[in-house]
Each structure stands twice: as structure tokens, then as C-alpha cells.
């Protein structure tokens, strides 16, 4: 997969800001998946990549995750019960990096973990462990702009906030498709089209849509509108069935995304 590699100030090679366009093989749409950190996560991440995932978000669990619905919340509870504190999550990230050396990996977590660990220390240590960037679900754009991370925007975001988020976002902009928490929904949110249009008007960054995407049908519809998609809760559920089930499910998403007719 063609990616843009660069050396940063510390001499580390990393994928520049997660920007990833898979031009030749897959028609240009990115498929990102979310997995909760845990003992089997590195293998699951590898299975997802084999199934066609371009990017893996790794949840670092928090006890009180405001942005998450029941599936990810319960996954976080289990992970914490299994001892997945910050250090264990960093180790999981490092092992995942070994298994999928060319795949962007993005830890996703809440401000509380960075507050406890030290904001700069956390940012440095995730990168040292192999992270490409970072998502902090409850740190809105404009706060701590020095913390390089992927910004989220929502249907409720004003155009001005879309602009600020895009300016500060590290490589791509995460479009939350719906007004709500993570979790599967019956239909793709009708709010996505409008949000994509408003975001396009203020930035050239890749726009990846996430929240509420679970079926291949959702995936195709969302990928039609945006530059890529993020699938979270449904991936977490299928991952419980093991790597083979996960690989097959991701493959079904990949096929749906690749079936998108590119806009001319």
C-alpha cells in the first residue's frame, strides 16, 4: 500500500499524519476499524488488516466514557477488569505495531487518561509505541491545540468549529455521523451528507465518517459520501467471535466500500 513516510524531529519514521490514500487497488476509500485494547487485540488487528482494514483505532478504556454507547462501554469495562490500564494498553499498541508494521494505528481514549499520565508524556509514549496519531474523545477542537491529534466534528458543529477542527486535525477529520453516542443504528444517519458538504467547504483534509456504521449497506452509503469510514461497535462485537469471524466481517465491509462508484 502506498503511504507517505517521513522522518520527524526525533528521527522516527511514521506515517505522515495518518494521511492514507489507497489509490491503485481499492478505489481511494479508507476503511478504519476500532478495537478495544486487550490480550488478543494485536492478533485481531492483524486479522482486520488481512480482511482489508486500512487503519486500526485502539481503544484505551476509561471507566466513564461519555461518548460511548453500551457496546464499547461494556468492552471498556471488560478491558479494565482484565487489567488494561495505560501501560498495558501501550504494550498492546507496541505488539500490534509489530504485527501490522505498515498500518496506521490510532489510540482512542478520554482526557482523564492523559491528565493522569501527563499530556506530553502520553503523546510521546504512544508515538514511541508505534502510534500514528491519537484521538481524545472529550477534548474538543480549540482545547490544547499543541496536542497533535485527529479532531472529531459532529452534525451540531458550527461552520466555524469545522474550520478550527480541520486546521488543528492531524491528517484527517473524523466526522461523527450522528448526534449521539457510538453504537449500531438501523439506518445510516441522514445528517452525514450535510456534514460532509459543510466540511468539504472548509477543508481539503480527508473526511472519514464514523459512529452508527455497522452493515455493509451503511458502509457503502457512508463511503459514497466521505473519503472513508470508521466502524467501531460492530467490529468490537464481531471481534468477540474471534479473528476468523472478524476477518470475514471486515472483508464484507471492504467489498462494500470498494463497490462505491467514484464521483467524477
Amino acid at each position: 500500500m502506498p503511504t507517505t513516510l517521513e522522518l520527524d524531529d526525533t528521527g522516527q519514521i511514521h506515517t505522515r499524519g495518518c494521511r492514507l490514500r489507497i489509490d491503485s487497488v481499492n478505489g481511494g476509500k479508507t476503511l478504519a476499524v476500532y478495537l478495544m485494547s486487550g490480550a488478543t487485540t494485536p492478533e485481531l488487528a492483524a486479522a482486520a488488516v488481512e480482511g482489508g482494514a486500512d487503519l486500526v483505532e485502539l481503544g484505551f478504556p476509561f471507566s466513564d466514557p461519555l461518548a460511548d454507547g453500551p457496546v464499547i462501554r461494556r468492552a471498556a469495562e471488560r478491558a479494565l477488569a482484565e487489567g488494561m490500564r495505560t501501560r498495558a494498553c501501550l504494550a498492546c499498541l507496541a505488539r500490534t505495531r509489530e504485527l501490522v508494521p505498515d498500518t496506521p494505528l490510532v489510540p482512542m481514549t478520554y482526557a482523564a487518561l492523559l491528565e493522569a499520565y501527563g499530556w506530553e508524556r502520553f503523546a510521546a509514549d504512544v508515538r514511541a509505541a508505534g502510534a500514528t496519531s491519537l484521538i481524545v474523545a472529550d477534548l474538543p477542537a480549540g482545547e490544547r491545540p499543541e496536542l497533535r491529534r485527529i479532531q472529531l466534528v459532529a452534525p451540531t458543529s458550527t461552520d466555524e468549529r469545522l474550520r478550527v477542527a480541520a486546521e488543528q486535525s492531524d491528517g484527517w477529520l473524523y466526522l461523527v455521523t450522528l448526534t449521539g453516542t457510538t453504537g449500531a443504528r438501523t439506518d445510516l444517519s441522514p445528517a452525514l451528507a450535510g456534514l460532509v458538504a459543510r466540511a468539504r467547504a472548509v477543508t481539503d483534509l480527508p473526511l472519514y465518517a464514523g459512529f452508527g456504521i455497522s452493515t455493509p449497506g451503511h458502509a457503502q452509503a457512508a463511503a459514497q459520501l466521505a473519503d472513508g469510514i470508521v466502524v467501531g461497535s460492530r467490529v468490537v462485537e464481531v471481534a468477540d467471535e474471534g479473528p476468523d469471524a472478524l476477518r470475514a466481517y471486515v472483508r464484507s465491509l471492504r467489498e462494500a466500500v470498494d463497490a462505491v462508484v467514484p464521483a467524477s
Binding site: F62, S63, L80, R85, Y117, A137, D138, E143, T179
Partner: protein
């Protein structure tokens, strides 16, 4: 962090992006209301004609015989606790913002009852989140909320108390943000909530100060209040914070003592002093009183502690129960278990002229107390 909503390094707005426009709208609406004389006039009128303000100041002669100890009687406010001061103010604000649905969390149920009360009065749809454990130990309040027309949604995971109820209320708000006002019950949460709740509860402190001066010809030496999220304390402290000679003392439940035993952490949208571990994971709080059973506290209290303006101590379940019984038997006033914590520490004090905020009455606690 942004410059607004900070108390030293505490406070802020740690929320998903979806809520930022709602918080901006709330802040603008609040500033607008503060500048509008008719808002203050409406709240004053509601306080007088609906809520029962001003509440009395009662000298507790037998409970603390060696001291001149006064009780600010928020237990006599309509619905039985100070919570209505905040619920009324936020209801008027919600109406001004054009919201038609209210969501809230509740611990002991007093804030839930106050919210259900204002929703009945103002005609709002009302959804209250309450932990299943709290529903069990504060059953009368659940019944009252439902009678008032609120939908009480049980929260059955985690500690099944106020912490999870608050998280679920916030998740509901995220999902329904365009139609819904989140009527938070204490001086916690993302900015501007801590400031709004303090300002709405500051009527306690203003009244108490004037009443105390009338009764004693001078200010108290010390003001004592229980601290869960911290709203009755911040409200009564507000009347005295600018008088350095007046000590301010907050009393937490011993096993929910965010200020005495916690650390800086982020919970429910704010950085504050929280019972959290070294990874920032929130710990369980425990208290016999549902309203103090919360691992966080308002960010302004964390700042008052750090600057030395206020001190925070603890009282155990047993001490609170003893103070509950003593106030009941010696003064004929049944306090809620929450302010019983303040009473427990108040009678230990060296000071003579003491003002205690009696933040609520104890009807809701009869079953719990009688079972001990």
C-alpha cells in the same frame, strides 16, 4: 484550556464535540439572562411565591448547647431541599433557550424531585436518570418523581449510583441536544454549569448572611456545609467568601471524600478533585447518604481548597447517623443524611458562632435510618 470556566487549573469543558455548540448556546443564554433584569425578577418571584423563600434561620439551642449554632433551613424549601433553587433557575433558562425537554441525573432523588417539580410547573417533558441502588434506598423520591410526571430511567451498570446516572444523563443530552436542556443538579460538569449552579444557589448565602447579622449583630465565625457535588456548600459559601475572617468548612462523606483523599482528574466534563487511581480511572465512592455518594466534586471547591479559602473534612456514616438522631430528638428537625454530616463536624468545632446549611429534610431517609 480556554480562559472561561476555569477555577485556577480546575473546571473547563471536557466533552465530546457534539455538546460544544450546546454549551456555547447555554453560556450565551446565561449571560443574556444575567444582564436581563426580568430574569432575576422572575426568579425572585418564583422563590417567594412558589418555593417558599426566604427560608428561616433557626438557632439550634439543644443540639449544640455550648455554641451559638444556627441552621439555614433549606429543608423547608418546597420539595424539601436546596435543589429547587437551581432547578427553578435552569428551568427559566431552558424556556428562554426554547427547549421543551429536560434531562437530569439524581442521586438521593432530591434533585430529581426538584426537576420533576419544575417540569410539571413549566410543562416540560422530563427524564431523570437514577442508579438502581439509589432507587432502592430513596424509594419515596422515585414515587414522587413519577407522580409529578417524570420518567425515571434506572441505570443498572457500574456502581448503579450517581456517577453512572450522570454519565447516562450526559449521553442522553448528547443524543437529544437540539431539543433538550441538561438540568445538572450540582456545581459540577462542563463550563458554564459550575458557575450557573453556584449563582443560582448563592441565594442561600445572601439570605443567611443578612439573617445571621440580624440575629447576632455580626457575621458567623465559621460556615459549615456538607459536600457531595458541592452545590449547597458553594451556595452558602458565596455569601461569605469575600470575608476572610469567616472560615468556610466543607464536610464530605468519609468514603466519598474527593477533596480530602482524591487527586486531579477529569470526570463528567470538568477537571476537578476526584476519587481516581493513578491511571485516571474513576474509583467507587461509598456513603450511607446517596447525595454524597459521588467520587467527584465541583471544580470551584477544588480551587477553594488549594487556595486555602475553604477547608474540607470528613464524617463517617456512623457519625452522620448519630447527628441525624440527635438533631431529630433535640431540636425536632429531621435532617437529611447529607447535612447530618455537616452537623456531625459542626458540634466538634472550637468556634462559638456557627452557621450550618441544613440542605434538606430527612423524610427520604427514614427507611435507611430505621434499618440501622
Amino acid at each position: 484550556m480556554t480562559s472561561t470556566g476555569l477555577y485556577g487549573t480546575y473546571g473547563g469543558r471536557y466533552v465530546p464535540e457534539t455538546l460544544v455548540p450546546a454549551l456555547d448556546e447555554l453560556e450565551a443564554g446565561w449571560r443574556n439572562a444575567q444582564a436581563d433584569g426580568s430574569f432575576r425578577a422572575e426568579l425572585d418571584a418564583l422563590g417567594r411565591t412558589f418555593a417558599g423563600r426566604p427560608t428561616p434561620l433557626t438557632r439550634a439551642e439543644r443540639f449544640a448547647p455550648g455554641q451559638r449554632l444556627y441552621l439555614k433551613r433549606e429543608d423547608l424549601l418546597h420539595t424539601g431541599a436546596h435543589k429547587l433553587n437551581n432547578a427553578l433557575g435552569q428551568a427559566v433558562l431552558a424556556r428562554r433557550l426554547g427547549k421543551r425537554r429536560i434531562v437530569a441525573e439524581t442521586g438521593a432523588g432530591q434533585h430529581g424531585v426538584a426537576t420533576a417539580t419544575v417540569c410539571a410547573r413549566f410543562g416540560f417533558e422530563c427524564v431523570i436518570y437514577m442508579g438502581e441502588e439509589d432507587m432502592r434506598r430513596q424509594r419515596p423520591n422515585v414515587e414522587r418523581m413519577e407522580l409529578l410526571g417524570a420518567e425515571v430511567r434506572p441505570v443498572g451498570f457500574g456502581t448503579r449510583t450517581l456517577k453512572e446516572a450522570t454519565s447516562e444523563a450526559i449521553r442522553d443530552w448528547i443524543t437529544n441536544v437540539e431539543t433538550t436542556h441538561y438540568l445538572i443538579g450540582s456545581c459540577v460538569g462542563p463550563a458554564p454549569y459550575p458557575e450557573i449552579v453556584r449563582e443560582l444557589q448563592s441565594v442561600i448565602g445572601r439570605e443567611a448572611r443578612a439573617q445571621f447579622e440580624e440575629a447576632e449583630g455580626r457575621l458567623p465565625e465559621i460556615v459549615v456545609a456538607c459536600v457531595g457535588g458541592g452545590s449547597n456548600a458553594i451556595g452558602i459559601f458565596a455569601g461569605f467568601v469575600d470575608e476572610p475572617a469567616v472560615r468556610l468548612l466543607g464536610v464530605e462523606a468519609a468514603d466519598a471524600a474527593s477533596l480530602s483523599t482524591g487527586r486531579a482528574a477529569v470526570l463528567h466534563g470538568a477537571r476537578s478533585s476526584v476519587l481516581a487511581d493513578e491511571d485516571g480511572q474513576i474509583a467507587d465512592a461509598h456513603s450511607i447518604s446517596a447525595g454524597l455518594d459521588y467520587p467527584g466534586v465541583g471544580p470551584e471547591h477544588a480551587w477553594l481548597r488549594d487556595t486555602g479559602r475553604a477547608e474540607y473534612v470528613r464524617a463517617t456514616d456512623q457519625e452522620a447517623l448519630a447527628a441525624f438522631r440527635d438533631l431529630t430528638r433535640l431540636e425536632g428537625i429531621i435532617p437529611a443524611l447529607e447535612p447530618a454530616h455537616a452537623l456531625a463536624r459542626a458540634r466538634d468545632l472550637e468556634e462559638d458562632l456557627i452557621l450550618v446549611c441544613l440542605s434538606g429534610r430527612g423524610d427520604k431517609d427514614l427507611a435507611e435510618v430505621l434499618s440501622h
